[in-house]
Amino acid sequence: MNPNDAFILAVGLPVIASPVIYLIGRIATRKNPKVDLARWLALLTLLADGYFLFIAGMEFIQSRHELLIAIGAISLRLDGIALLLAAVVLALGTLVTLFSGPAVARDNGRETYFALLTAMIGTIIGLGAADDLFNLWVWFEAMALCSYVLVAFYRNEAAALEAGVKYLVQSALGTVLVLLAIGLVFANTGSLDLDEIRLAAQPSGLMLAAGALFIIGFGVKAALVPLHTWLPDAHSQAPSGISAMLSGVVIEAGLVAILRALGALHLVTVSWGALLLGFSAVNMLVGNLMALRQTQVKRLLAYSSLSHMGYILLGVGAGAVMGSEYSAAGGFFHILTHAMMKGLAFLAAGALLYSLHQAVGNHDPLVLDDLNGASRKYPLAAFAFSVAVLGLGGLPPLAGFMSKWQIFVGGFQTGNAWIMALVVFAALNSVLSLGYYAPLVNRLYRRQPAGIVEQGRPIPVLMSVPMVVLSLGVVVLGVWPSLADWLTGPAAQSLLMLFGG
């Protein structure tokens, strides 16, 4: 198969399959409420999509030539960053689809859930590969639309609706600011093609304003700190599978959108990368301090996503400022490992939430006290959760240690005093984060089981499979981090091309 066609299919298939999944799932459920066809159709679509992405990705990896595709006004470019984002979102999305079956089985509208999840995966693949400023906005908006509905999926719960409203209003304001920035860039350069903008964008006040609008607009989705207030609500109120997707890939997709837009404006000022490093410091500190005082498990994990965004920004920002490929590769490696670890943490928390609360029919949040002694009754979920949070805290030999290590070493190699200070700050933050990760493990293994745990229902097998896969992944990548080099290396080179020329 021609790799260009394969990539078109990889982007288009989930988006086109989404309404089909909805319709068939709806008809099947209406005939027999026990049949859950939508889930299996979504899974099939994602597996087929993985095959197409594999063909296109292998061609790119072997030839190192970016695939450029234009269909009418849609232009796509498969480079290292696009491939990394696509691979991460497809892998995590497939596991989440598998996991979500039992979790949403008793809710109305599960066909909506799977149709929108599939569409969201397709739009994120498209977002990573967008080669045109307006295309970038359209993919971004389409991703946001899918996620609004998914966040407010429990539409009869006041808390979920509140989170959905906050998320919608803040994100919609962000996308308007991005549109204004696109208008400014278009009026100044006369083009929307990212490569043409790169050549035409010259330093001027209006272009600086456009860059700032891009950072604020996309930054709402990427959860840069003063713009993060929707995140803890949305991540904690969404269905657990969606929390894993939001935290593992959607905020990273926002970061990729920022990188694409600022990369096109890289001649305007040299300080874009420094700005990212500034956000990195604030994100790490605020995320960790807020996570320390949480009592709900999913809210705690949501705040820890902020601090991990900080580590990613440190690696990527150091790569953009100093042209350090090793550091940038570390940042992208952390995108991959964070997706695995945070995905695993949310899925394990979701499995416990399901068996302790949802299977009994209540919608209370999973609080820290519910974890007490859970390892006796749920050894697998407790083990998976521990692997995930210890990995997030950066303990060797788990994946999170390796990616943080690479970011820190890369930062020191740049020799820049500011970046070295930031690395020390990040290392201190990493220690601080153990202050809330370690007690979670302590609760799981060393406390007496809470009453609610003893009355809990069993965890379905289909929920356990993704947890086992992700736990294995976290351990394997921690022992052999070079296994991910084929993915992170090209992504780092693409980033340097964006910001260096």
Partner: protein
Amino acid sequence: MTISIPTTVIIMVLGLIGIGIYALLTTRHLIKVIVALQLLVKGAMLALVLAGRLTGQEELGQSLAITVIIADTIVAVIGMALAVQVRRVIGTLDLRSLTSLRR
């Protein structure tokens, strides 16, 4: 004294965005918040059309605006659907009552 067309449009864009942001900051009613968002998007849309006109690519500018209309309508529909559910479940559209989730 005559005011050129681009100047007029720029004033309208800034006016729409100014009113939209002012309304977003002051109103506490969910439907009015959605209307404010709509005003903001209309301003941005006008900016795209103007950018097309200024660079001599009017068709491109207008096709961008039409695409934005589609996306923007979906946002409004989802927002209204949320508003209906908020009214049903919580019983009010006042955003001050949507504060059960604490930081």
